[in-house]
Symmetry: C2
Subunit: 594 residues, 2 copies
Amino acid sequence: MNFSKRTVTCGALRAADVGKTVILNGWVHRDRNHGALHFINLRDRYGITQVVVDDNASEELQKTAAQLKMEYCIAVTGLVRKRPDNMINKDMATGEVEVEAQKIEILSKCETLPFMIDEENSANEDLRLKYRFLDLRTGGMQKRIRLRHEFIKAIRDFLCDREFYEIETPTLIRSTPEGARDFLVPSRKYAGKFYALPQSPQLYKQLLMVSGFDKYFQIARCYRDEDARGDRQLEFTQLDLEMSFVQRDDVLGLMEDLFGYVFKRVMNYELPAHFRRIDYFDAMNTYGCDKPDLRFGCEIKDLAPVVEKSSFEAYRQILADKGFVKAVVAPATKGFDFTRKYLDSLSEAAKVYGAAFVPFVKVGENNTISGSAAKYFAGLEEELCTYMGAKNGDVILMVAHNSWKKCCASAGALRSKLGKDLGLIQPGFAFCWIVDFPLFEYNEDEGHWEAAHHMFSMPQARYIDTLEQNPGEVRGDLYDMVVNGYECASGSIRIHDVELQKRIFRICNFSDEEAEKKFGFLLNAFKFGPPPHGGIAPGIDRMVMIMSEQSSIKEAIAFPKNSFAVSPMDDCPNDVDAKQLEELHLAIKYPENK
Amino acid sequence: MNFSKRTVTCGALRAADVGKTVILNGWVHRDRNHGALHFINLRDRYGITQVVVDDNASEELQKTAAQLKMEYCIAVTGLVRKRPDNMINKDMATGEVEVEAQKIEILSKCETLPFMIDEENSANEDLRLKYRFLDLRTGGMQKRIRLRHEFIKAIRDFLCDREFYEIETPTLIRSTPEGARDFLVPSRKYAGKFYALPQSPQLYKQLLMVSGFDKYFQIARCYRDEDARGDRQLEFTQLDLEMSFVQRDDVLGLMEDLFGYVFKRVMNYELPAHFRRIDYFDAMNTYGCDKPDLRFGCEIKDLAPVVEKSSFEAYRQILADKGFVKAVVAPATKGFDFTRKYLDSLSEAAKVYGAAFVPFVKVGENNTISGSAAKYFAGLEEELCTYMGAKNGDVILMVAHNSWKKCCASAGALRSKLGKDLGLIQPGFAFCWIVDFPLFEYNEDEGHWEAAHHMFSMPQARYIDTLEQNPGEVRGDLYDMVVNGYECASGSIRIHDVELQKRIFRICNFSDEEAEKKFGFLLNAFKFGPPPHGGIAPGIDRMVMIMSEQSSIKEAIAFPKNSFAVSPMDDCPNDVDAKQLEELHLAIKYPENK
């Protein structure tokens, strides 16, 4: 196809270009026809340039210009000229100039748009995803896809400088389900056999360490066939990374350097040289969860020492039963009333996590107190307020539960809600490490221990001799990187010893035969001089979401599925031809109530 | 796990380090115990360092050293010292020094190896793939995986410098089979529905152009469920690239710049600023194929002008029937006899492609000729030799066929075999472009036209008005990049007009309904101001194979499948649990003769 090919982009022209004849290619962003003057804002990825069709333009040119509608794709040949002084737009990089059109070619037309191409798009999600090719033209999506590109490029540059190799691992692999479900890919050549899509390159990156590649990374596509829960996608991207001959702090230090570099380069944002390291139990006790948002305070306190002296019988009973009582202070906030209704909403938030109710105490002047729990603390007013660090106007909120985890989680829910509702969250990015997680969790449903992270993580040295005696006590060489309340990376030092690996499998209720069947190739590899190794895997989608201050990872992905695992644009998943199924030796068993 | 963590790598120590105490981590590469002195070559990714256990070493150290076997993973603490002058090894980067061991820790042991860890591995393919984690320790695989890493990094650096965005496209997409078969991924949520793995990001990269991303690339994993044929993998990696507002020469020029940059940086090899461009028909006529190896001559000539004057009735009849006669000269080669047996082997090579036999003429002194076809050229000896440019000692080989393609291919097979057998192939990398391919091919089996490349390629402008009249004549804006006889990239300028796209679908026997069902989302996108665009997709695996002078892409992939689409290491594809199939609503229909 012949067309006038651009000589400059729509973001390039400046005052110094005045007098040049140029060709621009782009989209009609805005189109204001004032009769005598017709202004066209022409847009491409690089910017917007104002094109003017003067009233003394040729009849043909005026005729073409009159046909233009929003999002027509056009080529404009014209003369760069200075804008009149009163028309200069300092908010626009090209705002000092405009292009006097001499010729306009319509490269393609545009039908009525389903939504405006603007900075943000307020259309509903399915409409946005059905017309994703147009949604991606909006300023917000353009910026986020660019940010994602720059973020990943910066990661690669940093790691390559540090002598990491990027190595591609296979994505048609053996199905070894544990944890989430595998996606399966039927084999045509071998009836009844399947490949699986990787949940992560975990086993392959460990094999690469056995191979001596020493420092590996990959921007890896991973797949989990999980039920829609929160903001998940069937496929997602992680920075997968593994290093040999390292201990925990080597991995943590590398990540601190990496994110420090990347945030400076991409966001011009300074991260601290080191991120706070918080013991898993401290995080649970202080923030009520293992992914604390450190952009605000409101730390949780153990209220037992005060409750024990109080007349709060219900709570004293919980303590007597080896249960837990925790409290958090809602700080007095200008313009915010702690109404009964609001306090009830806090109660609701905590109940989700197990707390039966949320007794509260309002602090007045000179440590006077009122509220639902005030009467139990008669005579302890000052001690309570001092212990909690609560001042006039603050509210002390309490939760209790026989289960430590549920008590923490309930208090954590209060803290999170207060952070948002009271506007306590400071701008910026708060990174921290959560370390020393328990290695095992008890699966009540199935009646056995299972790996809290995954079965390849190393127990901490002091537990190795006695793993089997009390799996619940064992702490692993495990670490999570948390940013602004999101778990953004998870990693561990790995096991590289056949016998230790087999003991872990057994504790997780895998028989030796089953372990051999599923993970035999890894056990086999460990017989041939495996090095000590460890790694981590930050999620790319989530990091980009956080960096661009969005609340859904769909905003960080060019073509996501919707919350029902469907792509409204191309309507997949879809039916396939009977011939395709035949070739794959498959028959469909529709559920009976279909 | 506690171990003495390296302070330097095994490739780092130099004469300037003498006197330092260091820790090395690595594998026992070679182990020579001379009684008094025990030499250990310790290897890691970075190099090899010689470790010495002196005979005055502690008993404990000597005892540990005596336990070492090949590929044990160890930590060595020791003192860097200068080697005796007569022991300096100039072939080794660390060859001036050795490390006097003070302490050795065994980090892990190694069982008897299935093959030696050496520069090359001569074990058979399945053994290499079963123990790929060890095969990857060999020098050759280490170099090739590193080359692949550096090659891809160089591509990314170049394209990012040129303002390309790398954008990830989805890999769970709609199945739109055409050409190769799709791999399918059953949906658990929607019984009877499937996602497909992409054969390439073709449609998504075109949508990104509609979205205005202007310059896109991706190092993309692609999937084709094809029958094993030659050197193919189920999954492969391509540099997928697309640009808006371009014409053919923009894409070609970019690729020339890209590969020029990359080959210089990674291989220190200078490519020409521009690659030869060869018309598809010229390539077929001159080299007998559309992926010519230009590292040697032996060009094919049309022999019709000479045959017409000859008494070669069989060939004259083929010409009279509008058939073709071609010839190629096998040059006299020192130490190579054109024996009857060898000439027969040429005949066999040509027969595969359709030539019934290969008449030949040996050239003697003063243009005398002998051989099976000599008698037909009586009186034309000088004309024949001059026409073919054949000299004393050369052999002129002829093929004929009624089909132009088969005649070309037969001659091409002769040329290829001569190139290899006579050692005519020069070292280096010969790039060229094959351009102006026909847009359609006639599918004899199905009785209709189909796209020679794919259905989204633009016909050249002069054919657009009359496409339907003679599809076989239509040339497309198509181009292939060929290196050393391999097709390494394929691309085109794309259609961006709904009506033109629909006409192409119809010519390829897709009804409007079918086209709408399969490609409706692309046709829909084309209604909203699509830009002119085009792209290309070089194959990464094949390029790395060529760059590392290998003959199989498996040598360029960390964990490939074998020729039967199986991974001998983890034995996939494999059976899966009945529960997994149940959840996916699938039943297996085994072939009856199982």
